[in-house]
Symmetry: C2
Subunit: 366 residues, 2 copies
C-alpha cells in the first residue's frame, strides 16, 4: 500500500499531489455512471455523485470523489447494498428510527434528514436516528437540507474507521466522528459548523511522514498511546482529539449519539471501511431539524443573524488578515466559483478514477 493509497483511508487529502481542474458536470456524470454500473438506481447514483462532487467543490476533498473507488468496491462486493430501501422501524410524531438497509450513507442520510424536515414542517422540532447505514460523506451536506427550509439542521455520524483512543488509552475504539450544525442565513449560505474531532487530519500526518518532517506534539499518539512528533510512528498510532480530554469527550458523545438511539455499531463493533468487505458496517447517524419559526418570527431571527454576521465580519482584524469568515462561508464561495470554473482534483485520484472507469467501460474524465 503506497502512501497515496493510505491517504484515502484518512480524513485528509495529500497535498503532495498535482491537481487538474475538471468540469463539475462531467465529473458528476462520471461518478453517477460508476455508481450505475455497480448496481445503483439512477436517482440514488445521481444523489451520491452530486454529494461527492459538491464536497470537492467546497474544498472538502477528503469527502469528495476520492471516495468513489472505495464506495464502488464496497458496492460491487455487496458490502454496501446498491438497491437499498431504507425504512422507518419506529416512529412518533416528531421522531423516527430508520433502518438504512445497508445502503449508501448519502442516500440513507438524505432520506432521514428529509424525513426530519417533513416532520418539523408543522413547527415541532424533530429527530431521526439511523442504523444499518454506511459512510455518509460530508455532514454539512445533510444539515444544509434543513437550513433550506428555515430550520437549524444537525447531522452527526460515527466514523467508518476507528482512528482514536479513549483518553489515556492505546486502543482504537473511537471514530473521528464528524458533526455539522447549520443555521439558516437570509440570502446567503447557512452558518455552518462542520468538524471532525481530531486536531489534524490524518492526511497531514501522511504528508509529514513522506517528507520526513516532525509533527506538532498534539497531533497524534504512537501505538502505545504516547504523544509523538515522529510522523511515521504517529501513522502506526492514533490521531489526537482537539483540546485533549475535551475532544475525547466530544468524539465519544458524537459517536454515542450516532449509535445508541438506533442500535448501530459502536467501539469494537465498528469494522474497517477499507479492509472489511464481508460484514455490513452498520453505521449510525442522528439528524435533527429545528424550525426557527417555533421560537421566533423568522424575519426577526434573520435580522438578528444578519446583525451578528455583520458584526463578526466587521471585527478589527489581526495583522495580515484580509477578511473574517463565518463558518461555511469560504466553502460556499468556493462551491459557487467552482461550479463555473471547474473543480481541482488530485492527479492520483483522477488516475484511480480513470482505472476504475476503464474497468467499468467508462471514458476517463480530466
Amino acid at each position: 500500500m503506497t502512501a497515496g493509497n493510505r491517504d484515502r483511508e484518512g480524513d485528509g487529502v495529500a497535498d503532495f499531489d498535482f491537481e487538474t481542474v475538471v468540469d463539475g458536470g462531467r465529473l458528476t456524470a462520471f461518478c453517477r455512471d460508476v455508481f450505475l454500473r455497480v448496481g445503483m438506481e439512477e436517482a440514488d447514483a445521481a444523489l451520491c455523485a452530486g454529494s461527492l462532487v459538491e464536497a470537492d467543490m467546497r474544498g472538502v476533498a477528503s469527502h469528495g470523489v476520492v471516495r468513489v473507488p472505495i464506495y464502488a468496491e464496497r458496492l460491487e462486493r455487496r458490502a454496501n447494498n446498491p438497491r437499498a430501501t431504507p425504512r422507518i422501524v419506529r416512529e412518533t410524531r416528531t421522531t423516527a428510527v430508520m433502518d438504512g438497509d445497508n445502503g449508501m450513507g448519502q442516500v440513507v442520510g438524505a432520506r432521514a434528514m428529509e424525513l426530519a424536515v417533513r416532520k418539523a414542517r408543522d413547527g415541532e422540532p424533530s429527530w431521526v436516528s439511523v442504523r444499518n447505514s454506511n459512510h455518509f460523506g460530508a455532514a454539512a451536506w445533510f444539515a444544509e437540507i434543513a437550513t433550506r427550509e428555515d430550520m437549524i439542521g444537525f447531522a452527526v455520524t460515527i466514523g467508518g474507521i476507528n482512528h482514536m483512543v479513549p483518553w489515556g488509552g492505546a486502543e482504537a475504539l473511537l471514530g473521528n466522528n464528524p458533526f455539522a450544525i447549520g443555521m439558516p442565513m437570509r440570502g446567503a449560505a447557512p452558518m455552518m459548523l462542520d468538524m471532525a474531532c481530531s486536531v489534524a487530519a490524518r492526511g497531514k500526518i501522511i504528508v509529514a511522514a513522506k517528507e520526513g518532517t516532525p509533527i506538532p506534539a498534539d497531533w497524534a499518539v504512537d501505538r502505545d498511546g504516547v504523544p509523538t512528533t515522529d510522523a511515521a510512528r504517529a501513522l502506526e498510532g492514533f490521531v489526537s482529539p482537539v483540546g485533549g480530554p475535551k475532544g475525547y469527550a466530544l468524539t465519544l458523545t458524537m459517536g454515542l449519539l450516532s449509535t445508541m438511539l438506533s442500535g448501530a455499531a459502536f467501539g469494537s463493533e465498528v469494522t474497517h471501511m477499507y479492509e472489511d468487505f464481508e460484514r455490513p458496517q452498520n453505521i449510525g447517524h442522528l439528524f435533527a431539524a429545528i424550525p426557527v419559526g417555533a421560537f421566533e418570527d423568522p424575519g426577526t431571527y434573520h435580522d438578528r443573524m444578519d446583525k451578528a454576521a455583520r458584526e463578526l465580519r466587521g471585527a478589527r482584524r489581526a495583522p495580515g488578515v484580509e477578511r473574517i469568515h463565518l463558518p461555511g462561508e469560504r466553502e460556499a464561495a468556493l462551491l459557487e466559483a467552482r461550479r463555473a470554473s471547474g473543480v481541482p482534483v488530485a492527479a492520483s485520484v483522477l488516475e484511480e478514477l480513470a482505472e476504475l472507469g476503464a474497468r467499468l467501460g467508462l471514458e476517463r474524465v480530466g
Copy 2:
C-alpha cells in the same frame, strides 16, 4: 485589581492558592444565607447555593462558590433581579421560549430545563430557549436534570464576558460558550460532556503570568490577535479556541444557538458580568430533552451504553495511565467523595466569602 481578583473573571481558578477543606452542608447554608440577605427567596437561594457548592464538589471550582461575591454584588445592585418570575412567552407542544425576568441563571435555567423535561415526558423531544437570564454556572448541572428521567440532556449558554475573537480577528465578540450533553447511564452518573471552547482556562494564563513562565503558543493571542507565548501579553488579549478555526466555529455556533432563538444578547450586546452593573446582561440559553424511549426500549439503550462503557474502560492503556475515565465520571466520583469528606476551597475565596458574610451579618465558614 489583583491577580487573584482577575482570576475570578475567567473560567479557571488559581492554583497558586492554599485550600481549606470545608463541610459541604455548612458551605451551602452559608451561600444560601448570602443569597437570602441580598433579597432572594428561600427556594431560589437554596437552589443557587446547591448548584455552586456542587460544582466545587465536582472539581469545577471555576463555577463554584468563587462566584458568590459577584453574584451577591449583582443582586445587591439589582443588576440581577433577586425575585425574578421567569415566564413562558411563546410555546408549542414541544418547544417554548422563556423570559427569565433577569433572574439568576441557575434559577431560570432550572425552570427552563424542567419545562423541557415536562414537555418531553410524553415521548416527544423538546427544546426551550431562554432570554433575559444571567450567568448560569456549570452547564452539566442542567443536562443532568434530563438524564435523571432517562432523557439525553443538552444545555448551552452564551458566556457572560467576551473573551474570544472571530478567527483572524482582534476584537472580543465571542464568549467562551460552554455546553453540556448528558446521556443517561444505568445505575451510574450520566456520560457527561461539559466543555467550554477555549484550549486553556484563562486562570491558567493568570498563573503563568504570575510565575513569569511562558505559555504554549496555542493558548492565547495578544491584543492584536497575534498568537503569543508571553502570558502577560496574553492577558491583555484573548483566549484561543480548541483546534483553531474548529473551536471558533464551535463557540460561535454555541453562542448563536443560545441567543438567536430567544433574542438574548450576542456579540457587542454582551456586557461584562464583572464590570457593568447598570444594564441587565440578557444572557441566553438553550436546552433540549430527548427521551431515550422515543427511539428505543430503555433497557436496550442501557444495555448498549453499558457495553460501550465497559469496552472504553477496559481499553488497552497508555504507559502510566491507571484508569480510563468516561466523561463526567471523575467529577461524579469527586462529588460523592466530597459529600462525605468536605470540599476544598481556595483560601483567597474563603477570605472573600468571610468579608462578604461579615458585611451581611453572617458567620464565616472554613
